[in-house]
């Protein structure tokens, strides 16, 4: 396949974003997303040639699949996985539909309730305060899982990666939390 670089107008920002390990979300980075959508084959081929596996999920996110994980991202992934899983569990308990997670508003009261309900688990992961929860969410925002606007966090489509995984796990026998985290870590990074 011949790749017309001139046509790939957003190559630089796209690569910059994706190679940083962040997720491209159609809602947040509409322009990049549309570009990616329009030239998906070319981008896939180009990135593949560079050694990156570009995954474009029709649900509205894209990322580079990588087997490598730094300590930092590993830790973040693990913590975020825990946080999201507990969030999903909590929200499911509230009767909310998980697939509508993009409409959830993660505000301080909600995080407070989460903390209240699961502080034992959080503390096991050295998450010692609701403030740390926020730090996790902030970090996750930087890699495109969430967006912080109007004083609340919102989950972005990329969270589907976690949700898929949780669903998968839910289908299987109910494992313990550590297992989830490991799985999550391996799969996502």
């Amino acid at each position: 396949m011949t790749i017309d670089f001139a046509a790939l107008t957003q190559l630089q920002p796209l690569f910059k974003l994706l190679s940083s390990g962040a997720h491209l979300n159609r809602l947040k980075d509409t322009e990049l997303w549309v570009e990616l959508e329009n030239h998906q084959n070319h981008y896939e081929a180009l990135f593949a040639a560079l050694g990156f596996v570009l995954i474009v999920d029709g649900r509205g996110f894209a990322y580079f699949k990588t087997e490598l994980a730094s300590t930092y991202t590993g830790k973040l992934t693990r913590r975020l996985a825990l946080l999201l899983m507990l969030l999903f569990e909590y929200q499911a308990d509230q009767g909310l539909h998980l697939f509508q997670f993009q409409q959830w508003r993660l505000d301080t009261p909600l995080l407070g309730k989460l903390w209240q309900q699961y502080y034992a688990l959080f503390e096991a992961e050295e998450i010692n305060s609701p403030k740390t929860l926020k730090e996790i969410l902030d970090s996750a925002s930087r890699v495109g899982f969430l967006v912080f606007e109007d004083e609340v966090y919102r989950l972005l489509p990329a969270v589907h990666r976690y949700l898929d995984l949780f669903e998968e796990l839910a289908q299987a026998e109910r494992p313990d939390h550590d297992h989830i985290k490991d799985e999550a870590k391996e799969d996502i990074l």
């Binding site: 159609r26 809602l27 029709g58 649900r59 509508q100 409409q103 109007d150």
Partner: protein
Amino acid sequence: MSLAQYGFQKLVLLNSAGYSRAELPLDDSVSIIAPNNTGKTSLINALQFLLILDKRHMDFGAHSVENSRRFYFPDNSAYILLEVLLPSGMAVIGCVGKGLSHDYEYFAYQGSLDLDDYRLDDGKLVAQPKLIGRLFERGKPAKIYPQADLRALLYGNRQKQRSDDPDLTIFPLEFTSQAATYQRILTRTLRLDRLDSREVKNYLLEIFKNDLQDRSVDFKSEWDKSFADVNYDKSQYDTVFRNKALIAAMEDSQQTRLALRGKIILWRPLIEKGLNDWEDYNNSASEQLRQRLRALDEEAEALENRQKTIYKDQAKVETALKDQKKIELRYQELNIQFQFVSDLAQLQTQRQVLQEQRDELVRSIGNAEQQQSPEAIKRNIAKISKEQTDLHRQLASLNNNLYLQLQKLLPTDSFDLLTRLLAKSVLSLPVAQGNAVELNDQTTFRSFAEKLEERLSANRLELPGLLLDLSALEPNLTIKTAQELEAEINDCEHQLTESNNLLKTVETLTQQKQRQQEMERRITELERDVKNYEELLSLQAGASERLQAIEDLEQKLKALEREESVLGEQKKTIVQTQEIHKADQKELQSQHQRINYARHQRIDQLPPFNFLDQLPNLPCMAAAELAMPSLADCIESYNRDCQKLKQIDDQLNQHLGELHRDGVSKFQAQDSAEQELNSLFNYTAQLSQEQEAIERKARSAVVQVAAILRDLRDSLETFKRRMREFNNKINRRQLSDLKVFKIEPREEEALVKAIQTLISTSEQVESGNSFDLFDHNAVLDDKDLNKAKDTLIAEGEARGGLRVEHLFRLVFIIAKENQTPAEFEDIDSAASNGTVLMAKLITGLAMLNQMQDPRKAIKTACYLDEAASLDQRNQRNLIEIAEEFGFTLIFASPEPQITARYCVPIGTTKGKNHISRLNWQILETISDVGNQP
């Protein structure tokens, strides 16, 4: 095969695509049998020239259209021919190469395809230039068609056909506009292995295009369009609100301006007239003043003269008065002087007396001047007086004088001697106590007389150291009698009186002379007095007249003084009047200067003053009268008004400019700045109504935008419905072992939700009449609404317009037996090769079928490579499904597929492929064979 089955009959390639000749039946399913890379695909692709026609839509896989042209049309006797049975009868559509250029042209005719028509008797193929003639010879009047015309024919676009053209519609589309889509899908259908989900989505969208409304929404522009007014109005409102104070001030200025204009309009003609009249007025007024001043000067001069006269008169009168008074004073003096004089005679008498006395005196003086000297007389008097005194003493001491005493006490001799010695006066001295001679002790004195007797001898007196002869001496005293004495005394006395008078006369001679002089003087005096008295008399006579004269003079003087003072007053008045007139003159001059200056200062000849009456103004109701003396003030005030008006003009323009710069542009469309201002003031006055209006507009804008979005959402719903129908269509038969095969749209949640937010807001707005519920802020500042808007704008901008396809993605839902359905975005990854192939084929065929006019089914062909990957059951299934969709299926595989009706092997001779109908193997079911007659 049923004859009633319209559709492709066969495809023939002559000298094309490496085939010397190829005849392929297309009236039923075919299995082309050939090893790989022997031209199976080329055979099928040849159909593109006939069916796709448009080079842009052709797809020869790895080969370019250019190369393919060369491949298919090596010379001018290369043919691709398709026989098709149409409702109008059998027809042939052909494509013939034109030679070295590898170009080609189309032709068509009605009738069946007979290969002999294209072969000359010598076995060679008919060359393109001779083709039409050849066909005509063979009784087939063919016609050359330009590509576009043929395309119109094939796709039933009647509009583009000529009436004499035969009906060659192979693809009776429901909407001829879909021809391009149809061709694209058809291209894919010929090579279905390339069909991917993205294409499926695009094709489906095109297929359902006619069901979907307004396909591209430029949301941003729609929003901007709808809200342009609102935002504009809002910005205007905000700016005006912000500048309320300034605008209020401007309104005041405008009022002032209108009033000023009215005033200027009123005054202008007056000023004009005033200026015209001014010269005359000025001249006459100044002349008048000059005259008056001259008259005053004359008057003043007359007064001056008169005054001088008065002064002279005064001097004269005063002199006269002084004279009179002097005379009067003299009179008074004389009067006093002669107070005791009764008449003139008295004085004359006195003078007479005096003159006589003087004459007497003059005589006595003459006597006296002949007498002795007074000293001799005095000595004589003294001698006589002494004699008299002695006599008196002798008389007095006749009884007791010293002589007698001595005579008694002393001897006669001594006595005699002593009487000689002693002076008579001493001897005559009385002796008595306290007198000059005292005889205290007679005894003692006797003793002494004894001693003295001793010293006296013979007429001599001897005193120690002194001898005095007494003989010479006479006795001094002879005692006379008292008569003698008294006669002697009288005689002495008479002598004394005579001597005294004489002496007196002698002695008083100077005195008398003085006295004479005095008398002379007095006489003169008296004479003068007489004269004076005479004068007095005369004065006395004129006294009353004189007094009268004095009084007259005094009155005259007073009258003069009065007149003088009156004259002073008059003079003062004249000076004052002069001063007033001069001031008037000065004032007139200054007015003239001011007017001249002001006349040059006038700006009312320039715009806007020369068309001021055409500008809006407040008619001035004040009574305007121009008095010439006040012209200067008026014109100056007029000029000031003009200046002020100009200032206000400038100021208002400047403020308006400021407002423009600040963004107030709503009223700029007005014809004039004035109208703009009025509109602005009206607007400002109704700011709260404007706010409501903006609010209403905002709400209707939301409604408007929502209407467009509603179309989009409705389209999405329609599409979803269509997709359900489409799924029904492709699920009529079960594919392979797929329990579920569906293509479903998945909404792009965020976008759909955003649209929904806007729509529901609009519904609320439409239903809610209360401002409380949806006030201006609620619509313009609604967070969710704005977020939704931003989402849609971002999406629309990134994609160059919002289309219904952006609201969903397609997923393939596939489930085999005993599996829960799974969603796949890419159909290729969904299942095994064969299954995917089938799925794609069915999807493609269903799509084509969807586009065809169901009333006019004309069977066409589709191609399935690698048919061997499907088992027979599935092959049959496919054939049936294709049949249902109006397609005959062409399998291609190295092995014959017995599910097809025809098995057509590709042969090779001399390096060229060929397919002869003689090689066709027709497979028929036994029952079919049995049924055949």
